[in-house]
Amino acid sequence: MAEETVKLPNPSSLVVSSSPHIHQPQNARRVMLTVVLALLPACVAGVYFFGWPALRVILVTSIACIAFEAFFCKLFKRPNAIGDFSALLTGILLGMNLSAATPWWVCVIGALLAIGLGKQLYGGLGYNIFNPALVGRVGLLIAFPKLMTTWVTPTPGNFLPDAVTTATPLDLASQGTINADYFNYFVGNMGGCIGETSAAALLLGGVVLVYFGYIRWQVPTAYITTLALITWGVHLANPATTPTPLFHILTGGLMIGAIFMATDMVTSPMTKLGAVVFGIGCGVVTCVIRVWGNYPEGVSFAILFMNALVPLINRYTATRPFGLATRNREANA
């Protein structure tokens, strides 16, 4: 052998663990952060239309959600999970699902419901059944029905608006006034929750998420298509008194629900087929509520209802192992 000195590895520094030994450069934290970034366009749109009060609502819910996450982790003696950014995401989503006129203490209660009741009571991230932000929103809707349906008139570009209350297009429609003001609906110039109004901004975020593969495109596609088909049928039957499918798609919480809420990984099905079933289910339930129910809006309830069915959907849409069909066919042959 040559006389040079050869450095050999130090065995005591070696780690032994099961294969695989490499991992793609991605983690839950990065996924959550990307979703947060994908929400930003809609946040910006919300602040543009509803001014600083909108920003205040989002900030309060975000900070409160993070604080409650830290608190509950301590309480239940779990490792502090605020670093995975899922609480931040819940906070932003919750804020975007509130009116810009929501008082700060209502925001805090919403955050408590979302993180405490919606997530930590189940065991934390991954174990919750319902979308935490929606648990917060619906909890508030039940507790403060009046406050939660007080909408302010958008004041594009005016960041210090005088809060003038208004009704959402869906409210008006349920009272018989259908305004086909599609362009304003598309950009977000209408009454409603901070983050739900601008379909354009939400779509932009959705495209980003589909590109990165962080949401299943099957969910929003199936959801929106189902809703469009049913409302189209209804509209054809009663063109004068019912809104068009486009109206249904662009107003209310459908866009944010279909793109950001129904697609939450934890509370939606595991498989692609499951995602389609889930999306269709959300669409059907939303229509039932909007068209035949008492509420003008149905997205939150629909998604929560379908969340409850996810374990069942997972069971019946389980993948078929490679080679399973062949065996059966051969056995029959």
Binding site: M1, L8, P9, Q24, F322, G323
Partner: protein
């Protein structure tokens, strides 16, 4: 050119095949070899030598302990200095013999060349493969003669030669195809003759265009097909490869022979050729030594029983202490913790990884993202299974097809919360097998 079918799932990790252009070097003789007496899947061998015995290169030192077993041959000539145990790549202690070389490398002549193999009876050829101790060299180490003995009820009409080498970092098979294509093809012909099988497809991934071209020119004359395959891990897994080149689906729980196919690795084919043409038993193989910490990565012809330490010395050692040393590739290889672990018949690579290149799999929660499901080549649901297994619900895991898992690691590679999915699945498979056995013995 056969059309390629796309198997479900799969991933494309960085290929990192830095040694692809490095010629195979032959390792100089060492003073001592530590030869494990179990290097295959199946029955353990019975040792035939005792301390102070002298042996020749290629002499049988442990005989197969059953039909599903493969004998072990001395890697060089010398004296048995101890009958002992050593730590095998799998981490467990295995019986082994320590062989002190006499430096002469005198060959044993028990096995004589079968020059007239084209007219030899298939059974004689098969016997030769068994006598030469040949096992699957792609990693599985299943005794080759067993794989070439399908029951008469399962005729074989397709021989697939696996030159895919889908594991990142490894280049041993690539180099073999470039440097010794004739040997691979002769071995292939011998195997085809044993199986009585006319159709041969050689699968090679298209990140090895030079190997594809060379093999294509040579294979054409022998009426074999070369299938260039789009790179996707784990294309080299038997069931996925058969599907990719022929569209046949091996039934769940079944074997390739259930669809009339047999898969052999290119390295195994070359070993078959050497056993038949040269009477050479399997006591050396080509191994890629690679990884960022390695000073001189390369492809080496190493004798079985070469201790890891000696192998790393050939590669001029390391720049810095690695976090992991892996026998095999990064996706399915085995991490070892000692430099005494010997190279065995199935050691396709030695891979060293720095701590920033390898990843720690912690038990984060399953956030239900479904990415593991999307990439699983067996189309099972690793995330769901891992939760069942954490809860010790092995009955559920069995019903949700845990046994179909091929341990390829695609799922864990993707999981955003770094769940140790392969660890869970291996555990479940062992548990389910144990339960089935207990059930039978009742």
């Amino acid at each position: 050119m056969p059309k390629q079918a796309k198997f479900h799932g799969g991933i494309h990790p960085p290929e990192a095949k830095v040694t692809g252009a490095f010629e195979i070097q032959t390792a100089p003789l060492l003073e001592t070899y530590v030869v494990p007496l179990q290097q295959h899947i199946g029955a353990p061998c019975n040792v035939l030598v005792k301390k102070k015995d002298t042996v020749r290169r290629g002499q049988l030192i442990a005989e197969p302990g059953g039909f599903v077993s493969a004998g072990i041959h001395a890697p060089t000539s010398g004296t048995i200095s101890a009958v002992t145990t050593c730590t095998g790549p799998a981490g467990a202690s295995v019986p082994a013999v320590e062989l002190t070389s006499d430096g002469d490398d005198t060959p044993d002549d028990t096995l004589t060349p079968m020059d007239d193999w084209q007219n030899s009876a298939p059974d004689d050829l098969k016997k030769r493969i068994a006598d030469a101790g040949i096992v699957g060299m792609g990693g599985a180490a299943f005794p080759t003669h067993v794989k070439l003995s399908p029951p008469p009820a399962k005729p074989i009409d397709l021989l697939v030669i696996n030159g895919v080498e889908c594991e990142p970092c490894l280049t041993a098979d690539h180099r073999l195809m470039l440097e010794d294509p004739d040997k691979v093809l002769t071995g292939t012909q011998i195997i085809a003759r044993i199986l009585g099988c006319k159709k041969v497809i050689i699968g090679i991934e298209n990140n090895k265009p030079d190997a594809i071209e060379l093999m294509q020119t040579k294979a054409e004359k022998l009426e074999m097909e070369v299938a260039p395959l789009k790179v996707r891990y784990p294309q080299g897994a038997e069931k996925q490869l058969i599907y990719a080149v022929s569209g046949r689906r091996v039934p769940t729980g079944g074997l390739p022979m259930d669809v009339g196919a047999v898969v052999q690795n290119v390295g195994t084919a070359a070993a078959v050729a050497e056993a038949v043409l040269d009477g050479k038993p399997l006591y050396e193989r080509i191994t890629t030594i690679t990884g960022t910490p390695v000073v001189k990565p390369g492809n080496w012809r190493l004798r079985v029983g070469t201790p890891l330490e000696a192998a790393l010395t050939l590669a001029k050692g390391v720049h810095n202490d690695p976090a992991k040393i892996i026998f095999g590739g990064p996706m399915m290889g085995l991490a070892v913790y000692s430099l005494d672990v010997p190279i065995i018949k199935s050691t396709s690579g030695i891979l060293l990884l720095n701590s920033d290149e390898t990843s720690e799999f912690t038990s984060g929660p399953c956030i239900g993202c479904g990415q593991c499901v999307d990439v699983c080549p067996m189309n099972i649901m690793p995330g769901t299974l891992s939760v069942q297994i954490e809860n010790e619900r092995f009955d559920l895991a069995e019903a949700w097809h845990a046994m179909d898992c091929i341990e390829c690691g695609c799922c864990a590679y993707m999981c955003p919360t770094y769940r140790p999915l392969v660890h869970h699945l291996k555990r479940a498979k062992a548990e389910i097998v144990a339960r089935r056995k207990a059930e039978q013995n009742k």
